[in-house]
Symmetry: C2
Subunit: 345 residues, 2 copies
């Protein structure tokens, strides 16, 4: 049984009003920085200050394999999961490159990769099992495994410094898990949740939809969020759910990547809706279900660049916009301090 | 008479194919970096290399005043133009803050501010006049002034180092000029080009539309791009037009900010369509005409954050995405180099 962390409602009228006042008196027409103003307000609330500074941001990529891949739901073989973990650590993957560019510390977590990985700097070995079981044959994980993954995700966050975490993932087959979680937790039909993942063709897409429809039927009676997570999730998704809950409880800024990372947030907010106050949605993925998932979460993503890579690459790309939002609060002059006339003056 | 600079067509089949091949073999599903892949391809073509590096990027903000403001087309008084120039140089404006964050050298150009500005580092004094004339009474500038502004814009670019320029502007009243240029050069009705600028209310918006409609009628026979620019433009817009032509001729990457900067590109591409190959459109502004202007230019902007500030702030915000695109080409591993299996393997 999960002990949900305590979490406070950040929308205290006082700080919110002070932040709004500060933003509105910066040297710019009212509202002219658009979504960055809403982001500056949110970051001030999460960090509980009128002068937010993002400190030691941590990019964390959770990796795990999926038994369901045996049913042919992915264009790539499961081996790509460990191969990409090696690539993350060697610095050659998209998320490695963009994290380096933007000053993000990168940690890769083996949540359940189907291969033993050699220990090294930047890699946390927290393998629950050598991949999940095949969800079309039985639950992807046991309740104990699910609990262990949630706990491990929380521990990862507790062990990292700073006040912001960016979450990403790697796991061949995990758009299937994310689509299943989405369908069950939002109530949308599975057809509206499933997408081409890494690039299925039409025939592959039909197969994926057929497999996922069977899985949905199999667990038609399962509705409790944690039971849904165990039945249809992945170890990397469960660890991200634990990470979101812990980071939110600590009032860290949580930068959410794409479709799969958002599905972990979907589970977390079903358990504790206040986590959403701490989440910044980095981008709208090209994976077809993501726009609907974001709408369900009432989330307004920062970027919409047709990305569908995962890894946390979209979160890393959006990071400079969070920095900019803080600096609007901390570095921009006010009309008064700069001696600039106001509208109608 | 303007001497248009020579410009080559960048779409040489050889380099384009080599860049496409490189991008397609990076460790990611085909096309999964979306718009960043198109941007990487473009940057490779502009800089004529498979390993593009952005060098010493220059943020240049052109400032000028507008005689048409006498007709009540802006929510802010003309004094805000020089006051904001002071704010740019003091480091307190949005563009100052974001340029500093993203490592962009900032130059402010007095193209025609209605006040004498004290010389100092970071400010280029290239004033054509103390603001344009009132375009509702006669052409905003003479043909000679227009020519001088184009030349000055080109000189500014020639005097700056690096292989990328980011263009921005400041000028109370200049959404009016941009809307007028747009209406005449695209053929769209002025109603579809005009917007609230810095924040006009409904009554102000009606007045602006009425004034701009009169100006359109007054110059109904003026269709030559340079004559249009002289009749309805601003000194800062004309200088940006010259800067775009020169930067394009030098194969520098040109990062275009919002509505007003795009209007300068609109004039430049009417003179030389190949400039568009060198232009990266940073964002879609909330100023209502900008989406239509971008559509006319067949431009796909990187960001859509509801910004309507100008200054070059959107260009500065988008800058890290250009850096990321270059690094995708220069730093990401290939499937082969990283030993990652490909689709269907």
């Amino acid at each position: 049984m999960l002990n949900l962390p305590d979490m406070n409602d950040l929308n205290s009228a006082g700080l919110q009003a002070r932040l709004r006042h500060l933003i509105d008196h910066k040297t710019k027409p009212l509202g002219s920085l658009g979504q960055l103003e809403a982001l500056a307000l949110q970051l001030g609330l999460v960090l509980q200050t009128e002068t937010p500074h993002l400190d030691q941001p941590q990019m964390v990529v959770f990796a795990g394999d999926h038994g369901l891949v045996a049913q042919g739901v992915s264009a790539y073989p499961s081996d790509v999961t460990w191969q990409m973990v090696e690539n993350f650590l060697a610095g050659g993957a998209a998320v490695s490159v963009i994290a380096r560019q933007n000053g993000l510390a990168l940690t890769v977590v083996d949540a359940g990769v189907a291969r033993e990985l050699a220990p090294r700097a930047g890699l946390q070995l927290r393998k629950i099992a050598m991949g999940t079981m095949d969800a079309s044959q039985g639950p992807a994980m046991t309740a104990d495994q699910c609990q262990a993954a949630l706990t491990a995700g929380a521990e990862v966050v507790r062990g990292l410094p700073g006040n912001a975490v960016l979450l990403g993932e790697m796991g061949i087959g995990n758009t299937s898990s994310a689509a299943l979680l989405m369908a069950r937790l939002t109530g949308l039909p599975i057809e509206q949740c499933v997408g081409r993942g890494t690039g299925l063709d039409d025939a592959g897409m039909q197969r994926k939809l057929s497999v996922l429809s069977q899985v949905m039927s199999r667990y038609a009676q399962v509705v409790d969020p944690l039971a849904v997570l165990a039945a249809m999730g992945g170890f990397e998704i469960a660890m991200m759910t634990g990470a979101v809950l812990e980071a939110a409880a600590q009032n860290r800024v949580i930068v959410v990547d794409g479709f799969i990372t958002s599905s972990a947030v979907l589970v977390a907010q079903a358990l504790q809706p206040l986590v959403l106050q701490r989440c910044v949605f980095a981008h709208q993925s090209d994976e077809s279900g993501h726009a609907r998932m974001l709408a369900h979460l009432q989330a307004r993503p920062l970027l919409n660049l047709g990305l569908r890579l995962g890894e946390g690459s979209g979160a890393a790309l959006a990071w400079p916009l969070l920095e900019s939002s803080c600096r609007i609060l901390t570095e921009m002059a006010s009309f008064e301090s700069a001696g600039v006339s106001t509208a109608g003056a």
